[in-house]
């Protein structure tokens, strides 16, 4: 079966579990149809390009683009020893973007997801930030996932403080996300540097988790948004 991710030459039809994506010729253009059991999206494409790129994108666009931040709550808290480096694997929700490729640039025209979006507040009501919310188990090896629904973050935790720290959540800035995929896994490598029991800095490494994985399009780069910072400082607790 052809993987949903990657470049697809027009016209095409992809059927994967509970989704059908097709692009058919219509008059002088194409018609893009994305169909799931509860939703049907149709868009007319007037383009001279003959390729569409589908890939996982930063999971902060749906239901609405109201925040660039993703908060992952851990099902079980992690106790991290002082002055140590640890590595765990957590899951993140996947959103899939459809792009036109124009001379190395990618223009996004559709985003969809199979996971239920939810939002939360990180911090207090006055100074906090709204974040996309996801709850994940904590694994010591790469867990098996459905690549259309969930990806895996290798979270490298470095406790720089001189005390034991309990980590219950991680907040990430999607501006820095570097997503890689292959036909079995969607992944990111993230870092969390714990400064004390309530402050940590998170960021991402631009590297694949497994050699040979393809890099996804960064949606903020494709939207030509100027990024102020790619890191996030968790000042309201970890």
């Amino acid at each position: 079966m052809e993987s949903i991710y990657g470049l697809h030459t027009l016209p095409f039809e992809l059927k994967e579990k509970n989704i059908t994506i097709s692009v058919r010729s219509k008059d002088s253009g194409y018609i893009y149809i994305r169909e799931t059991h509860d939703e049907k999206v149709e868009k007319l494409l007037f383009t001279k390009r003959n390729e569409i790129y589908l890939c996982p994108v930063e999971p902060v666009n749906l239901t609405k683009t109201i925040t660039p931040f993703l908060l992952i709550e851990l099902q079980k808290p992690l106790l991290v020893e002082p002055k140590t480096k640890n590595k765990v694997y957590i899951r993140f929700p996947i959103e899939i973007g459809a792009f036109f490729k124009i001379k190395g640039d990618y223009d996004n025209f559709d985003i969809f997801t199979f996971t239920k979006p939810k939002y939360t507040l990180y911090g207090d009501v006055r100074r906090g930030v709204v974040c996309k919310y996801y709850k994940s188990d904590v694994n010591t090896s790469i867990p098996k996932t459905d690549i259309l629904k969930e990806g895996v973050i290798e979270l490298r935790i470095e406790n720089d403080s001189s005390e034991w720290v309990e980590v219950k959540k991680a907040v990430f800035n999607s501006f820095g996300m570097k997503i890689y995929y292959n036909d079995k896994l969607v992944s990111m490598i993230a870092k969390m540097k714990i400064l004390n029991s309530s402050i940590a800095e998170t960021g991402f490494s631009d590297a694949p988790l497994i050699k040979g994985m393809d890099k996804s399009v960064e949606i903020y780069t494709s939207r030509k948004i100027t990024l102020s910072t790619a890191k996030f400082v968790m000042e309201a607790g970890v």
Partner: protein, 267 residues
């Protein structure tokens, strides 16, 4: 010529130093104002403030060195003072608006794009100029509010905080299962993406009313989205409760009579 000839070189030097110092100070303040107001005001408004500040400092310095040069500025001050009073009276409100505008730029209780309520005017801030603030009311009207009025009114900024809470009071019949109703409501809140996970939403029996058991529901949502979430969720709750046989009762009263009424025609 005679005045200048009578001036001591030291006095001339002192006047030159004061003027130079005033020039440097006014330049420094101008640069500082430009930098600090860059993100808060429009460029033309900044330039206006910078020029007024610059020439005020230079003017004060000039007036202070005139006596050193043997020129009595009292006549000038008198004429200027009278002119100032006339202009001051004429432009009292404008100056008041201008100063209010400057203070608003510094305090920043509202920003362009914010949903606000200023006095009795509610809407979206379209523009904040040095004299007035433009509001587009929620029904699409253009309202220009002088900054003095904005500054002295109580301002409610609906989007100053990232999230806000809304509340429902939902009455159900005494014969309905209140636990089930609460569970249904909690599930509906959980299913709505924009009903925030944290701060935690609440649904609980709050009151045993005259006509119904009152379930209070409190939900937090992003400030920019709360109204849509509020109306959407309320309708979902109503429909789902009804679907599960839980009804929102009409006000009703059961009357008990001391003497049993005898129905006409039955005897």
């Amino acid at each position: 010529m005679s005045i200048i000839q009578n001036i001591q070189p030291f006095t001339l030097l002192k006047a030159a130093i004061i003027l130079s110092f005033a020039f440097i100070i006014s330049k420094a303040i101008s640069i500082h104002l430009r930098r600090s107001l860059k993100d808060r005001m429009k460029k033309d408004h900044i330039e206006l403030i910078v020029k007024v500040t610059y020439y005020t400092i230079i003017g004060i310095a000039l007036l202070s060195v005139l006596p050193m040069l043997g020129i009595n500025p009292s006549g000038l001050l008198l004429a200027g003072g009278i002119a100032g009073i006339v202009v001051g009276f004429a432009s009292q409100r404008i100056v008041s608006n201008l100063i209010s505008g400057v203070f608003m730029m510094i305090e920043r209780p509202i920003r362009i794009g914010d949903s606000v309520n200023i006095g009795n005017i509610a809407g979206v801030v379209e523009d904040i100029s040095i004299i007035s603030t433009i509001i587009r009311t929620f029904d699409g009207l253009y309202v220009r509010v002088p900054n003095e009025q904005v500054f002295t009114s109580s301002i409610t900024n609906f989007v100053a905080n990232p999230v806000r809470r809304f509340e429902y009071n939902i009455g159900i019949r005494y014969s309905d299962d209140a636990d089930k109703a609460v569970e249904i409501i909690k599930n509906l809140i959980d299913e709505h993406p924009l009903a925030l996970k944290n701060p935690e939403p609440q649904a609980f029996v709050d009151e045993l009313g005259d006509n119904s058991v009152l379930v209070r529901v409190r939900v937090w949502a992003p400030s920019t989205e709360w109204y849509g979430v509020k109306i959407e969720l309320l309708w979902r709750i109503k429909k789902t409760l009804e679907k599960n046989g839980i009804e929102i009762p009409f006000p009703q009263r059961t009357l008990w009579f001391g003497n049993e009424l005898k129905m006409m025609g039955k005897e």
